[in-house]
Symmetry: C2
Subunit: 282 residues, 2 copies
Amino acid sequence: MRYALGIDVGGTKIYSAIIDENGQIVSDIEKNPTPKSFDEIKQLFKSIIKKHEKDVDVIAFSTCGAVNNSNNHILGSTGNIAEGYPDMQFAELSAKPVFVENDANCAAWAEYKIGASKGTKVSVMLTLGTGVGGGIIIKNELLKGQNGAAGEMHFKMYSDKRRKCTCGGWDCFEIYASGKGLKITAEEISKNHDITTYDVIEGVQKGDSLMIEIFNKWQDDITNGIIGLSNIFDPDCVVLSKIQDNANKEIITTPIVVKKAVAGNYSGMIGAALLAFEKGIN
Amino acid sequence: MRYALGIDVGGTKIYSAIIDENGQIVSDIEKNPTPKSFDEIKQLFKSIIKKHEKDVDVIAFSTCGAVNNSNNHILGSTGNIAEGYPDMQFAELSAKPVFVENDANCAAWAEYKIGASKGTKVSVMLTLGTGVGGGIIIKNELLKGQNGAAGEMHFKMYSDKRRKCTCGGWDCFEIYASGKGLKITAEEISKNHDITTYDVIEGVQKGDSLMIEIFNKWQDDITNGIIGLSNIFDPDCVVLSKIQDNANKEIITTPIVVKKAVAGNYSGMIGAALLAFEKGIN
């Protein structure tokens, strides 16, 4: 049995644990808040790796940001993390092999190997969080594209410049389907700038009609994106992270199999580990 | 050297010719108007095949409509051709092997093997005609999806139900980027219901500012679609059929390599033949 040290790097938290070839977490899970500076992040990586590297065959990073096809550095900027982070020299962090992949790609791979899309030929995974990530698997291979940046969910929902997206473009799927998108939709419909996504979810649970309207609009946007992706990829299934049960109920009215992700919060590091075993070390 | 009888079936014309393994047309090209009924189409296929089947190794159809993964029948309806056409039993038309693929997929393959996207790792081809077709090639393989229907360009350009698409949905890329889309854009901007796409092209050539405005709006819609596809696939290049030079000039302002298709009107039958050699017969 081979082992990986999986490290999932998000904008707010960094998870780490030892993961085996079956995708099982075989150690305690360490959670750290993501430090604010490049140097602190690098120090944290070093300290996590130092503790575990003797016990593993590979260090497997699941990270925000698009990752190149050699799985060793980040392409371009990432938005929600310390400036300079994309310049991280991952290979220099350990004497053991280091493997890096985008977090949504890792989550997609985890679902494909041990979760909702197991056994499928073509699957599309959408991770809905502060932003939106995408991971596409075609015939047992992650779609990476020319440079490694494939799966970015920045296709337009409108063509008349309504919302500026975090990517610098206009009206991308991400700025409608993300948590940030839900907040903007809530502000637009309620005319209340202080409304939060928690207000919306709580309101839906209480049966508040305005909150249900907001929630349904957000769901419609997600559904519209899924319809487009389904027509492009003809996938066996679409996997959504963090979808509410009533959201899922809404979405499956379209003739597409939409499944809820099962690997949970640790899908990033599990997927990174499984990809590293598959691609990163021999 | 192996030979295929390539037959390209469109809504208005049916082209046929003998094509060799290099994608060269080695016979006269026969052009027929597409008959109006299923029986007449079937009779035409039979008469074309009867003339040439002894001289070829495979019959290779490039057809409107999505085609299944076994490359022998059409999935669902096709819109612009005789009712019942999707039920055609292609294999029964000849004693030789018969191979069938969607026309945009065939055009994409022709461009990949002998045209604009030769040597690329990931390419997206858009055929802009009465409708819009899409063909995506990833690492030497056509993206077919679960059922064979991948590459359908029915992702939304707006999410507020402006134009009904031929597919039954709303605001798909096809109903903006197609010739039909250009006509609707022209009608909307000029407030003239009788305006034709020829009026627009002619007006642009004469420098008419209203026609240029219409043309630019249509180009913007195409560009917006290409941006989304490029973010999803991270392709080496996007190939467009039938694009005007000034259109191309407009589109390359986005950071994507957009190339003009080179295989021309016969890319369907050439691509069908080359795919048949690759996949259909051994």
